[in-house]
Subunit: 309 residues, 2 copies
């Protein structure tokens, strides 16, 4: 049996887990800090090494994550060390970074939109204003030896502007990279991209930036996420974002699916013989433990069709 | 912009719609014949040219499709001609074919399992016994100038036997082809295959049978269907089965998804610039018209996230 069909080298991939942050930030029920802690610890036990733990936005906007500092403190007590772990917090501005600074988190995430309209509505400021503030923020994070991940959201389609030209994404990626971002996560925020677009954008990114520092962040809104991840892997991307259980909806279409489920991504790569380091059974347990605590139903196909095969 | 990334020739594809048969055969609510007729007509209006209309099994086993003859009669009255249309009925045996024979249907479908255990449980006879009866059945269909489609189900995994060796599938495909089957539809009945398996099986099929007469039939149980279709298209398959709205569940895991949704498949190919001949908006309308008449919720991602982009 050929071990590398499709031209795959079967290079291992790294999964970036966004469930605790992206999955819970729109949750109607309040998940208390201890349950969040147990969830994050269960994710770590499943073998995930990169986890976005929370966000340091103004609690007025996202009360669901108002316990950011408390959660980090509990994590610091619970974890014997951070060895091999990369735990991240999202920050919208310098003020947010100053809240993250004393915590155990060794990564920091910032967000920009490729669509200026989306950025304005999401961040309440212009792209250029955010870039200006992120310059200072990244300098501080670097001085603190923190890894910086920059999200470019609406990188394929914007709910307000429609299709986004790949050149806009490339320009922004180059600027962020020049400012010091260690990784750029390209987000299909409304989950409308198809493999054609992914291949095309990856080709351009590869030429102008290389793909070593590129991650792909897909939503499954139109059911394309797994195929898009396959296309991205085929092109050479090795880091993929996902949310355990498929936590996190699509704010633009309430009944639709949001983040691609980590279980489904692990299942894909497992079937392809690609190493993720994640124990699928343990990951399912982590997601299932959260299920009774949230109002959303978990959209992961793998979870809904348990037992595994 | 490169028009053929991924090595695609952007060859058009043909979709084989199974909603009226595979989607309704396990439905709890009885959909009356007139509603079925309107549904099939709406599917035809959306541009689908190949539709599996019903099944001629014993109504004792599948009462949902007991109106097979009545539906065909109404269709014959409603359609000015069959020009450009290929309408099919599934038959389990010669008796079923004799019921189909006087109808307008110009295609006939037969089913075998690659797993002998699954075949025995599903058909209540051995694979060899079915093959023997199908020999006579195919001869009759050929004499009547009907196109014969043969399904090989559980072609990747069987709920009883586990992983199925590609050689079992190839052997069966070659036998069916030799007996006169015009098309072989390879079914991932429990929706557990990943692109790795699809690529591998297609490579073998291509070598021993060619892919011109091969169709792929995926279920989205583990969320892999669209990625598997992408892999199959990449390998050269040009016919894909799908069910409008994602109708039809997975009998092995009641809350799980069954057939891949035609809307999602059309969305994939549309985004890739691959011609399907189907108007996605009209297809969504066809599925939505059926939604209030069935007990299952429609699993199509595209439908759940309407409007289109």
């Amino acid at each position: 049996m050929a071990l590398a069909p499709f031209g795959y080298q079967q290079a291992p991939v790294s999964l970036y887990e966004v469930g605790p942050r992206d999955g819970l930030q729109n949750e109607n029920k309040t998940v208390d800090t201890t349950h969040k802690l147990n969830y994050v610890l269960a994710l770590i036990r499943s073998g995930l090494t990169r986890i976005e733990v929370t966000s340091f936005v103004n609690p007025k906007w996202i009360p669901q994550l108002a316990d950011a500092e408390a959660l980090c403190l509990q994590l610091a007590h619970a974890l014997p060390s951070l060895a091999g772990l990369r735990l991240s917090g999202l920050v919208p501005n310098v003020k947010g970074y100053l809240r993250l600074k004393p915590t155990l988190l060794n990564e920091v995430g910032i967000v920009l939109s490729a669509s200026s309209t989306h950025h304005q509505k999401n961040m309440n400021r212009k792209v250029e204003e955010s870039l200006h503030e992120y310059r200072d923020l990244m300098a501080m994070a670097k001085a603190d030896k923190r890894f910086v991940r920059a999200y470019i959201s609406t990188a394929f389609f914007c709910p307000y502007e429609g299709a986004i030209a790949p050149s806009c994404v490339i320009d922004l990626a180059l600027q962020l990279h020049a400012l010091g971002a260690d990784e750029i996560s390209i987000g299909d925020t409304i989950g409308a991209a198809t493999p054609y677009q992914v291949v095309h954008l990856c080709e351009q990114l590869d030429k102008q930036l290389g793909l070593a520092d590129v991650a792909l962040h897909f939503h499954d809104t139109k059911g394309m996420a797994i195929a898009n991840i396959l296309a991205g892997y085929h092109m050479g991307v090795r880091t993929f974002d996902a949310s355990s259980g498929g936590l996190g909806g699509c704010p633009y279409a309430p009944s639709a699916t949001g983040n691609v489920a980590t279980e489904d991504v692990v299942y894909l790569f497992k079937g392809m013989g690609v190493y993720t380091g994640v124990d699928l059974q343990a990951l399912c347990q982590a997601s299932l433990s959260l299920a009774p605590l949230v109002s959303q139903s978990l959209s992961s196909h793998v979870l809904k069709s348990l037992p595994l095969i």
